[in-house]
Symmetry: C2
Subunit: 110 residues, 2 copies
């Protein structure tokens, strides 16, 4: 039996909030902390925790800076982050295909 | 701004192992505990915990029975489970579309 697509999902990337962060960072190239917080409807603490997980895994880069007088935190996907997001999307597509094929022979009752 | 697809993901269904359980149950109509455990490479304890979360949420039905002398535990998606899996797939497709469209105007740096 081939490996089930769910086994190939990386929980660091697949987790709902982190998948949202990586999707937005991918779209925007570089995205501000406040934008992520508003878009994903998170508290600053919760967003900060998820960003720390992604940074520790080497999937995002976090940079602090200024916009006028305001301090800003910018989030960018690293090359490893781009690759991890591509891998997640590929696994999800396989999983969606399995769902849409319905009762597939490989997973039928024995 | 329209709501980000990650916000519409239900963590009960989206969690990696439970998404695997629901996908397999959807494909097989009714699936045996041991089949899930092998396919998703889980310990019995871990699988049992995730099944309990899904059952409590009304997304699966668990039935115990016999096959010959062997006791069996069968898992079936409920109508609510089928609907929840469809909703998850629809959200994932939106999210994949956003990733594949790349730098979308709606999520660009301000």
């Amino acid at each position: 039996m081939t490996d089930h697509p769910a086994n190939g999902l990386d929980e660091i990337v697949h987790q709902r909030v982190r998948l949202g962060i990586m999707t937005i960072a991918h779209q925007a190239r570089q995205v501000e902390f406040a934008f992520l917080r508003t878009t994903l409807q998170l508290t600053a603490g919760n967003l900060g925790q998820h960003l720390a997980v992604l940074e520790k895994a080497g999937l995002i880069r976090i940079e602090k800076g200024y916009e006028g007088k305001r301090t800003c935190t910018w989030v960018t996907l690293t090359a490893a982050g781009q690759a991890a997001l591509r891998a997640e999307i590929a696994q999800l597509k396989q999983l969606i295909q399995q769902v849409e094929e319905g009762a597939a022979a490989t997973a039928a009752d024995p």
